[in-house]
Structure formats: structure tokens, C-alpha cells
Amino acid sequence: MNPELSVIGSGPAGLSAAVESAKYGVKVEVIDENILPGGQLFKQIHKFFGSKAHHAGIRGYDIGWKLLKEAEDVKVAIRLNTIAWGVFKSNSRSSIGLFDQQRVFLSKPKKLIVATGATENPLSFPGSTLPGVMGAGAVQTMINIHRVLPGRRVLMVGAGNVGLIVSYQLLQAGADVVAVVEAMPRIGGYLVHALKLMRAGIPILTSHTILEAKGDREVESATIAPLDKNGSIIGGGERELEVDLICLAVGLRPDAELCRMLGCRFTYVPLLGGHVPIHNEDMETTIPGVYVVGDASGVEEASVAMEEGRLAGISVAESLGYITEGEAENEKDKIRGRLRDFRIGPFGSPRQEGKNKILAEYRRWLHSEGRRSS
């Protein structure tokens, strides 16, 4: 049987979207290729930031449990271990190609929400493909969910929030963090996270980069070097650190291939991780009935992802006639207000600019579509 709404991805954005729409009566099915739902929430063992409305002070995995409970309460069906390998446009509907490890089949929902998250960026340097060079988020998954250390002596590359938080979590897991290198002249992440590392005596080397990973078949050492103010390597300053794990925390990029397959329009916003689908204030893409939420619509934070999910969920309930436009607008205004609150300050406002660009591109596209059809 076809659900009214399919949500691809059961992370914070997807679950929030599903819960919100199901609350109003929409029959929704969530698809996820993983064995467990929750996306990357369960590896976030630190407390979240922001105001109360943004779950401040609550650890990521507790937010995960809360969302799963809500999903159960409103009878959201979650189909796990199922890969959404493609989407196709047929008439006004989208068909989703699924594989549940046994059979391949199509699902034809009325509405589709893409909540497929993001992928960590790699970084290329000699030795960067050696086993022992891993994404920082990957290491976080291994230590916090599977409780296994991929190495004992660690070099972290990148001092943004991910680099800082994962470094601290590596300490909590019992590893030695030898250093954090950051190519920029400043620490990119929140100061509280950096201070925790500094108090533990971990050097955070700004204006430093990794030159090479060495080892016979696995990482045995890393060579780092200082950079001048133009970002060029200062010769003679190279140092070799004995490490067996190199973590790359050099940003993420949106995973929105399903939108690409459907022919959604994209735009390039470096501040949000790169190529992102254009969407309107309801998170609807340039293909009517197809929405994109969370990191797939621009890399931000879990708190933002959940709000975006709710926005799309309400919009779907509205477009399927479960709530009136008035009710929907009222709810959407509240969410948009919270999103605006989140996107202020030195960390938030650049993301607001990025989002504004996406919305402006959508309006431009709508205008040109209108001209073409008239």
C-alpha cells in the first residue's frame, strides 16, 4: 500500500517531519537504510546549545529517544534496512525505488520529503587513503555507538565544532589526542568546546596543516607544518607526530542525490556545504510535492534540521487538506521565528544569508516559470 507521505531518512529532520505530519492525520512512512533509526543523533553525547526551545542542555541521544517515542505515539511507520536507490517522476507523483534486502519494489506516495543528511568531506594529501585516516564523524560513530576505538593516538584535522567536540569525545573514550591542527588563523568552533580541550592540555595549532600521513599499511605518523598568513607552508617548520589515527573534520556536504535524480533545481552555497536544492519557505523544492529538509538542504545543526522537518511536515498536512491554511500558517510562523532566532550571531547569521540566497533563487525560478507558462 502506498503511504500518503514518504520520508527518506530517519535522522532528526526526517523524524520531525514524520511526527509533525502524522500528528494531523497524514499516513506517513519513513525509509532508512540503517539498522537503527535516529540518523546521527545517537552519537551526539554532548549537550546541545541555544535556548530551551532548541533543546539546550539535552544530550543528542536523549533527543533521539524523545523523537522515536513521539513517532511511536503518532504511529509513524519506520521501514529500516531499506535503501531508497532512486526516484522517478511519473505524472504528478514521484515513484521511489526501494530495496529491503529481499525484494526490489516501487512506492508511490503523494508527497515526498528528502531528509538524507550530509556526507563528510575528505581531504587529499599523500597517505590520505591509508587505513587510519577517517572522517571525524565516522570516529564518533565508532566510539560512541559501537564503543570501539579505531586508534589510540590521534591527530585531529580541523578546529570547527565537529573537530573540537570529537576530540573531546576521544578523550572521554580513553584515547590520546596529540594535537588539533586548523589551517585558518582562528579556531572555527564554539569557544566552550575549545576550552575543554585546552584545559586538558591538548594543543590547538591554528595556521597549521597536515602534509602527509605515513605508514607501511596503516597510519603510523603524521607530518604537520605551520602556514603563513597567505596559507603557504612555512618551510623548515615541519614536525612529525607519532599517531595511529588521523581524523578529518573539514566540513560536510549535503547529500541530496534523490533531489538531483528528480530534476530539482540546485544552487551553490559554500556556507551551507555546497550544492543544495532550491526550496521555498515551506521547504518545498522546484518539483511540487517534493520537500528537502535538514542537512540535505544545507549543512547546519540538528536543532535546525528538526525545525525544518516540522515546517515540511505541516506543509504536507496542509496540502493534503488535514489542516486549514490559517492553522498551518500559524504553526509555521512559530517555527520560522525559532529558526530565525537560531540563525543569528557570528555562527548563525552567515547561514541565514545562505538560506536567504536559496529562497531568492526559488522566487527567481518561480517568476521565470510563471513567464514561461503565460
Binding site: 539498522i35 587505513p131 565516522a138 599499511r217
Partner: protein, 106 residues
């Protein structure tokens, strides 16, 4: 052992049923339901495969099923993403060379 038994936030490691898997003919212990990659790391194994043309070692990179660097031959089927595939008792895992070779599947 590289298992994290005690954790200041997460507490003690929950005891679960253990299973045995065979890695290149050697038997190692794993926790039921954990990904193959986690069991291998816990046993100190980090080289999962060798590349097609240059025969370079590769291991776990993204751990969420995106990058495919961690693929191995599992129960005779090559190119299995070990980071998102759970272990099963008696599973046969082989270091993959190149594109791997199809063997006797279960």
C-alpha cells in the same frame, strides 16, 4: 583490546550475546548485531581491502555507508559495506583484493 568498557557519559558497556565470525580463516569474537567493521576494529584489524589497480590498502573511512572504502567479501559476496552490515554467527569475512571474487554464498 580496543573496546571502550567504561565511559564517563555512557557508563559501562552493556553485556550482549557474543558470536564468532571468521576473518581470513581466523576466528574472532563479536557482539551480536554490531557492524562487521566494529568487530574488526575491536580485534585490531584495520586493513579491509586492497585496491584494483595499485593494490593499496583501504579501511574504514565514513562509517555510515556512503564512501564504500570499507567493502569486503562476506559469505562469498564481494563489495559488502562492513560499516553498516551486522555480524552474524559463523559469518565468513575476507579481505577483498580488487573487485573480489564470488565464492560460495550462504
Amino acid at each position: 583490546m580496543l573496546r571502550i568498557y567504561d565511559h564517563p557519559i555512557l557508563g559501562k558497556l552493556r553485556e550482549r550475546r557474543k558470536v564468532l565470525i571468521e576473518v581470513d580463516g581466523k576466528r574472532i569474537e563479536a557482539y551480536e548485531g554490531e557492524p562487521i567493521a566494529a568487530a574488526l576494529l575491536a580485534a585490531g584489524i584495520r586493513v579491509f581491502r586492497y585496491t584494483v589497480r595499485r593494490n593499496e590498502p583501504r579501511g574504514l573511512f565514513c562509517a555510515i555507508g556512503r564512501c564504500t572504502d570499507c567493502v569486503m567479501t562476506v559469505d562469498g559476496t564481494p563489495n559488502i559495506r562492513t560499516c553498516i552490515t551486522p555480524v552474524r554467527d559463523g559469518m565468513k569475512v575476507e579481505t577483498q583484493v580488487g573487485l573480489g571474487r564470488w565464492g560460495k554464498t550462504r
